[in-house]
């Protein structure tokens, strides 16, 4: 196998390189010969295209993963219903599109400025709705348990219950078919890197996601509210004694997570306009959670890194082994990373992320 080309993102790429190391994979491949492809040529040919696509799709994972990681950092809680918050964001985006008069199936014929304005508007609505939904979820499913000093696993169960309930409400309301496609901005290549075309959508999504991440990171690390979040993450008892309002911090944490999920929803729907369906958050949620753990759960930068790595690695894996192995690649990568770094790649907690 030819050497993996050098990539700029050193720490991330090293992990991928080790996954793709032939010595690691040879036994697996030899054993699984009849059912699994092993197309190194395709991997090499598509390396840059896969990388770009992976980064763009990984940005969506990363934004959702931030929500998991924030809540985990503060409450040590896997918010299993976060994927449903994302779906609510997707529907909020979609319904805003409809509300703005766009029709399923047709391509809009509007000036680019108007389209961008509409996208921003839809994004804002999605962020507000998802943020509110996240806060509402916290009120209904988690706060009563906290009041009763419930064991940690109880939260997991109400999360599962809430997940079922939200999905079913959406299904009953909007039906079980995906919503008709509304696409405001078709992708078109802007320039190429090493022969891999980069589309306008990919540029928007990668840049906007990074911007969202920077804002969230600055918010948590620099603002007064963010200090509260970190204080509660580090030591809830002391933070409360120091005058931090824990309930308020928790509410804000959920709100921020929801807002980021709302942004992710917009980007997702821009990439995959067919994505508005009641159960569409499930796999994405699992992947995003995987990304959060991969990077080091409770760590904002870890979530970003984990999301991008997962997005890219999935694409490499798909090219190498075939499309049906995509999800296997994601989970095997997770297991391998945790084997060598038991607390994820960056592995710090939210509280100590700036130590």
């Amino acid at each position: 196998m030819p050497a993996t080309p050098q990539a700029p993102d050193a720490s991330g790429e090293r992990v991928i390189a080790s996954v793709l190391d032939p010595a690691v994979l040879t036994p697996l491949v030899v054993h699984a010969q009849p059912w699994i492809n092993f197309d190194v040529g395709l991997l090499v040919d598509r390396f840059w295209a896969n990388t770009i696509n992976g980064l763009a799709y990984g940005s969506v994972y990363a934004l959702i993963a931030l929500g998991y990681t924030l809540v985990y950092g503060v409450l040590q809680l896997i918010n299993f219903a976060h994927s449903e918050i994302f779906v609510i964001g997707v529907f909020a985006t979609y319904l805003t599109f409809l509300g703005l008069g766009f029709q399923p199936g047709a391509l809009p014929n509007l000036p680019i400025a108007a389209i961008i304005l509409d996208l921003i508007l839809a994004g804002v609505v999605a962020m507000v709705v998802a943020g509110l939904a996240a806060v509402g979820l916290e009120r209904v499913a988690y706060r009563p348990l906290r009041r009763r000093n419930a064991p940690r696993l109880a939260f997991l169960i109400t999360a599962i219950g809430a997940s079922f309930a939200i999905q079913q409400v959406i299904r009953i309301w909007r039906g079980s078919n995906p919503e008709g496609t509304i696409r405001l901005l078709p992708p078109s290549p802007v320039f190429t890197i090493f022969g891999a075309p980069i589309t306008n959508l990919q540029i928007i999504i990668i840049l906007a996601s990074l911007a969202m991440f920077v804002v969230a990171d600055q918010f948590v690390n620099r603002s007064r509210l963010g200090r509260g979040i970190r204080a509660v993450a580090q030591d809830p008892a002391t933070a409360t004694l120091m005058g931090v309002n824990r309930e308020r911090v928790i509410m804000i944490t959920f709100a921020v997570g929801g807002i980021l999920a709302g942004a992710a929803a917009l980007f997702y729907l821009m990439t995959i306009p067919q994505g508005a369906v009641y159960n569409g958050g499930f796999l994405l949620g699992i992947k995003a959670f995987t990304a959060a753990v991969l990077g080091g759960i409770g760590n904002l930068r870890g979530a970003l890194l984990g999301g991008l790595i997962l997005g890219v690695a999935e694409n490499y894996g798909q090219s190498l082994f075939g499309g049906d192995w995509r999800d296997v690649v994601a989970f095997v990568l997770l297991v391998l990373v945790l084997m060598f770094r038991p607390t994820g790649i960056l592995g710090e907690s939210l509280a100590r992320s700036r130590a």
């Binding site: 395709l42 008709g180 075939g322 499309g323």
Partner: protein, 400 residues
């Protein structure tokens, strides 16, 4: 304070979006409906309809069952079927005052294990004389022996796996052509009409996709030069597109459903792959055209079904009842429900009688002519090719 203001603003935005969406949705729906495309065969004049002659008589409480998914995963397919069955029953009951048939719904969840309880519930309900379903091959396989033992006639409107009729079940009938009929016809079309020497066969992981891809690949022989797998519910196909670009085929056959086909074709076209794209009956759905948002044009769609665009009465009634256009297998479900209702109208008062009636049935339906051979396969299953033209699915030609 700020919090309250934010909440109010959010609620307002949501409410506005809701109201607007309601309007827009209706508007969109009407626009999609459209009229029959020019040149499409109209509704067969001799098609059996559920209303019958209005003279049906049956015992009060007589029921037929729907066994299939209603709320579980992949519920969309099941709902398209149960809705059409309900429509047929409602039309029948409205026209036949002396025969009021109940449709008993059993939600199987679409998976073999969850199917056992509800389906057994139907079997043990003596009022149920026949069953529409089960939609999926997996659950059909799991429940087939029990339904057969109960002598309960069972017409599936959607399960296409060829193996289902090779179990020796005497109660099982298939309301559409199986994969073994469609596959070779499509392969022949690709070979002879498209003259494609180099074909990519993409399949999803459903029983349907795997079975169909198998028959097509076999019939294509060495021309099926690349095989690509996708997953149900997959929406992002960039790596798949890379595979296609590398193989550079002259035609692509997609074995699966429209939910995945729509984003796939869109992303293929976005990436500049203009290769002829062929999908099967699982893709032949208005939703495919809508969801591909302009990228579907030129797609060829094969289907073991007589052209359906002319069934305006059915389509309109369905749309009126359920606010959505009929979807994949709705018409098949409507047809097979009609057959069961006709049997009841004509005096089939127990399971054995209804089973006998279906076994000997011959008649035109909306989708095709229904007559079954000894194994439960239709004796003749025409396969037609359709294509997407100007955001409409229009009839191309009969291919088998």
């Amino acid at each position: 304070m700020i919090r309250r203001r934010l909440a109010a603003a959010g609620a307002l935005a949501a409410a506005v979006a809701l109201v607007l969406s309601g309007c827009a949705n209706q508007g969109g729906g009407q626009q999609q409906g459209g009229g029959p495309a020019a040149g499409a065969p109209s509704q067969p004049s001799d098609a059996a309809l559920p209303a019958g002659n209005g003279q049906g008589r049956c015992a009060p409480g007589t029921s037929i069952g729907y066994a299939g998914t209603i709320a579980g995963q992949n519920a969309a397919l099941g709902i398209a079927i149960v809705n059409a069955a309900q429509l047929a029953v409602d039309q029948h009951n409205a026209a036949n005052p002396n025969c009021q048939v109940t449709l008993v719904r059993a939600d199987t969840g679409g998976t073999p294990d969850t199917a056992v309880g509800p389906t057994t519930g139907l079997i043990n309900n003596p009022a149920v004389l026949g069953i529409v379903g089960l939609p999926f091959s997996g659950e059909s396989r799991a429940m087939g022996p029990a339904l057969n033992a109960a002598g309960l006639v069972n017409i599936t409107p959607s399960a296409t796996n060829p193996g289902l009729t090779q179990n020796g079940w005497t109660n099982f009938f298939r309301g559409l052509g199986n994969d073994a009929v469609q596959g070779p016809a499509v392969a022949g079309y690709i070979q002879n009409r498209l003259n494609a020497a180099n074909v990519c066969v993409i399949k999803d992981d459903s029983d349907y996709g795997i079975g169909l891809a198998g028959t097509v690949t076999q019939a294509l022989g060495p021309r099926a030069s690349c095989q690509i797998d996708v997953k149900t519910n997959q929406r992002e196909f960039s790596a798949i597109i890379g595979q296609v670009q590398q193989a550079n085929p002259q035609a692509i056959f997609y074995a699966g459903y429209y939910q995945e086909a729509a984003p796939l074709i869109q992303q293929l076209r976005d990436a500049g792959v203009q290769t002829t794209f062929i999908g099967p009956d699982g893709v032949k759905d208005e939703q495919y055209v809508v969801n591909a948002a302009g990228s579907a044009d030129g797609t060829l769609l094969s289907c073991p079904c007589v052209p359906q665009e002319g069934f305006t009465d059915f389509s309109n009634a369905y749309r009126q009842a359920f606010n959505v256009p009929p979807q994949t297998y709705s018409a098949e479900s409507y047809d097979v429900t009609t057959i069961l209702l006709k049997g009841i109208d004509q005096g089939a008062a127990d399971r054995a009688a209804l089973l006998n009636y279906v076994r000997g049935y011959q008649g035109q339906g909306l989708t095709k002519r229904f007559q079954w051979g000894p194994t439960g396969e239709l004796t003749s299953t025409p396969v037609w090719m359709y294509k997407v033209q100007g955001n409409q699915i229009v009839t191309d030609t009969q291919i088998g």
